[in-house]
């Protein structure tokens, strides 16, 4: 038996975990349910690794393996199979989905500790991983769509996991409804593929893409793009993602940063032969939507106070980078950034979850500060994530972002400029977050007389001793600067217990992800072509559709230096404003409200939109309902007219039958001619 035959295990294990938890979840309880779910996803990861090596053993042109499990929908001569396509792209996706997923499952055991619905949470998480793996591995569009809807539904369940809070429940609804718009695009693309090629399996539609007419290819590509912007939270459909932060933090890390939101990128990368056949306006549109979203979301992130909202807008912004890359035909950098982003954004989200946990459910960054003393592991790993996303070499984010910027430059320097400004803003808002949360003065006090956690003594010793960890002289200098400005903040938050470091189940994933965020760049190093591991790996999937650029080495180095400088400028500005306090922070209200985009939608939907819908409702009531009710009323009236005929006198009926028979007989006798 070949190792590749194990590919069915990758979705089967999370499904088994899900089913077991459905049946036994309550009985298993905490923490057994969590361990079971983690083991299921971990097993899935191991199976993916086995399949990966199986694929690696094959010659490059033979690295696509389809395993058909059974016939799902046979319709005449046409059929849809349930089958899995293991090729370099899907396995690369699966590796980080299940790998990061395992770490997040482990983290959740600590994070969800004491929750009433502990086992239900893991049940949803397993179902999510199953759906995501089906999305990625499905060998046809319909199976991908099944996973696509599955992850959407799980996202809904998990965002509104604490559904007793109306705000959280409605955030889930918002995500679901917004995603439907994207789903519409996906479905139309699927229908168009079937109409044009008579098949929806990737094998046939991607192989037959060359025979598509330009118009059909454009339609399919545009509709897939609509699907992608819905799922991957791009302008104008990004609105659900910031609200999705209402869910528990591991959910934000797993679904809304690392995995589900990347499925749009996956879909477009998968469909690269179709995009290549489409009209020439498609790719620049994708690139500009991506670049615009990247910049737009980055500006919003600058003014957010909620620790998770910053990361949410940051995610939207980073996904914009990936769309930018896809738009310029740079699929490898898109996938590269998708993978590194999965590492460092999951890390940042889990770190923020650890902070929220340690701060007893406080999410407002203006009420934090100086936390690195209370939670050293979280702080150290968060700082690694920060350096990675800010594009500081040699962290992973530097390599992937730099490669996207390079391709953008080769395509259109204007795109590069937008990307560069975004990089600067990214470094700025992430530094702002790190400084507000982990450095500076404490903008909270611990309620006196309350027995805190283990490190309570540390809190009291704080004033006397500042240099607790190894930050050195610089940290001390920062500390002094803070105390000078301390009176600025008058709304001091009162905690009932001191902030505390999280349990090992939460810090271990942080450390693992931090390691990956540091070395993740190694999968695609720019120095020599021997080090383009990811590009070589994905080559069978992308073929000639991957753009090849011709840029002098000097220019490449120059661009990288400019990008790093932009990142450093962002960090320096944030340092000057939020730590040195050289001037008051500028945080315009309009940015804090996300350019009032939500309000604009509400106003539009409440005004003309509502009028339109009421018009449709009126049409429905009068014309559509009128037709249906009219038929019913006619039947009822004629019925009540005919009711008088039912007298109950049997002999009347008999007479009727007799007369009728005679008349019929007479009629036939007249008709029959000899």
């Amino acid at each position: 038996m070949e190792t590749l035959d194990l590919v069915w295990l990758v979705p089967a294990l999370p499904l088994a975990g899900f089913l077991t938890l459905v049946l036994l979840g309550r009985r298993l309880g905490e923490p057994a349910a969590g361990w079971l779910a983690t083991a299921a996803v971990g097993g899935s990861f191991l199976a993916t690794v086995v399949v990966f090596f199986g694929l690696l053993d094959r010659p490059e042109e033979d690295r696509a393996f389809t395993q058909t499990l059974f016939e799902w929908i046979p319709i005449g001569g046409w059929e849809v199979d349930v089958g899995f396509l293991a090729d370099p792209l899907s396995i690369a996706m699966c590796l980080f989905v299940t790998g990061v997923g395992t770490l997040i499952h482990l983290y959740s055991i600590g994070y969800m500790h004491g929750d009433r619905d502990f086992s239900k949470f893991f049940l949803y998480l397993n179902l999510f991983v199953f759906s995501m793996v089906v999305l990625v591995l499905g060998e046809n569009l319909l199976l991908t769509f099944l996973g696509w809807e599955g992850v959407g539904a799980c996202s809904y369940f998990l965002i509104s996991f604490w559904f007793t809070d109306p705000e959280k429940a409605s955030a889930g609804k918002k995500a679901f409804v917004t995603n439907r718009i994207g789903d519409w695009g996906f479905m139309v693309a699927m229908f168009a593929c079937f109409a044009a090629l008579g098949s929806i399996s990737y094998d046939e539609i991607l192989g037959g893409a060359g025979s598509l007419s330009g118009t059909t290819a454009t339609l399919v590509a545009a509709c897939l793009f609509v699907g992608a912007i819905g799922k991957s939270a791009q302008f104008p459909l990004y609105v659900w993602l910031p609200d999705a932060m209402a869910g528990p933090t591991p959910v934000s890390a797993l679904i809304h940063a690392a995995t589900m939101v990347t499925s749009g990128i996956y879909l477009l990368t998968r469909a690269n032969p179709i995009i290549a056949e489409a009209d020439s306006w498609i790719q620049p549109t994708i690139a500009w939507v991506g670049a615009g979203t990247a910049l737009f979301a980055a500006t919003i992130a600058v003014s957010q106070r909620d620790i998770k909202k910053v990361l949410a807008y940051s995610t939207v912004s980073q996904l914009g980078y990936m769309f930018l890359a896809v738009g310029v035909g740079a699929y490898v950098p898109a996938v590269f950034h998708m993978i590194t982003h999965a590492f460092f954004k999951a890390l940042l989200f889990l770190g923020s979850g650890s902070v929220i946990h340690g701060m007893h459910e406080e999410q407002d960054m203006t009420r934090m500060g100086g936390l690195r003393k209370y939670m050293p592991v979280t702080a150290a790993t968060f700082i690694i994530g920060w350096l990675a996303i800010a594009g500081v070499p040699p962290f992973s984010g530097f390599f992937s972002k730099d490669e996207i910027l390079l391709y953008a430059w080769a395509e259109n320097p204007a795109l590069w400029a937008v990307g560069l400004v975004t990089a600067l803003l990214t470094a700025f808002y992430m530094s702002r977050q790190v400084f507000l949360v982990f450095f500076g003065e404490e903008r909270f006090t611990v309620e006196a007389g309350t027995p805190g956690h283990g490190d309570h003594a540390e809190v009291e010793a704080h004033d006397a001793d500042t240099a607790l960890d190894t930050e050195g002289a610089e940290a001390e200098a920062l500390e002094e600067a803070d105390t000078a400005h301390a009176p600025q903040h008058d709304d001091v938050h009162v905690l009932h217990a001191a902030p505390h470091e999280s349990p090992w189940t939460m810090t271990l994933p942080l450390v693992a992800l931090a390691g990956l965020a540091i070395v993740g760049g190694a999968i695609q190093l720019p120095f020599t072509s021997d080090l383009h591991f990811l590009a070589d790996w994905l080559h069978p999937v992308l073929g000639e559709n991957e753009v090849h650029i011709d840029v002098a080495t000097g220019t490449k180095v120059g661009l990288a230096v400019v990008a790093v400088l932009a990142g450093l400028v962002g960090i320096a500005v944030a340092y000057a404003i939020y730590l040195r306090k050289v001037r008051q922070p500028v945080e315009p209200q309009i940015l804090a409200e996300g350019w009032r985009y939500d309000q604009a939608i509400s106003a539009f939907m409440g005004g003309p939109g509502r009028a339109g819908f009421e018009g449709i409702a009126a049409f429905d009531r009068t014309v559509v309902d009128g037709a249906v009710n009219g038929v019913a009323a006619t039947v009822r009236r004629s019925g009540s007219g005919l009711r008088g005929l039912q007298s109950g006198f049997v002999r009347n009926y008999a007479l009727g039958i007799a007369v009728g028979s005679v008349l019929l007989l007479a009629y036939f006798l007249v008709q029959v001619t000899y």
Binding site: Q646, F649, V650, R651, A654, A658
Partner: protein
């Protein structure tokens, strides 16, 4: 005896069948006693059966006689149900007429 039988024309049977059917139909229409009406109803399929057999004989086709078996089965089933209902009604109201049963129309 055989001569007498041979003298009987098949059409006589047809006439007899038609007459029986007419008696049954008219009886059903004019009588009000449920039991009598029921007997009239029974008369009609038997008239039809007779016609079937006659034609079967005339056309030398066994299909007509086969049909009779079916009619018997249906008639037997009908008697079981119909007579059961009528007996039940007569027990409760011995002097009920068919028109009184109009109450059942609901």
């Amino acid at each position: 005896m055989a001569a007498v039988l041979a003298a009987v024309e098949p059409s006589w049977y047809l006439v007899l069948g038609a007459a029986l059917f007419a008696i049954g139909a008219v009886g059903l229409l004019i009588r009000r006693n449920p039991l009598v009406m029921f007997m009239c109803i029974e008369l009609m399929p038997n008239a039809v059966t007779l016609t079937f057999v006659t034609f079967s004989r005339m056309l030398d086709d066994v299909a007509g006689q086969t049909m009779v078996v079916f009619v018997f089965v249906v008639a037997a089933a009908e008697v079981v149900v119909g007579l059961g209902i009528i007996v039940a009604i007569m027990r409760r109201r011995p002097d009920a007429t068919a028109d009184d049963l109009a109450l059942l129309k609901g």
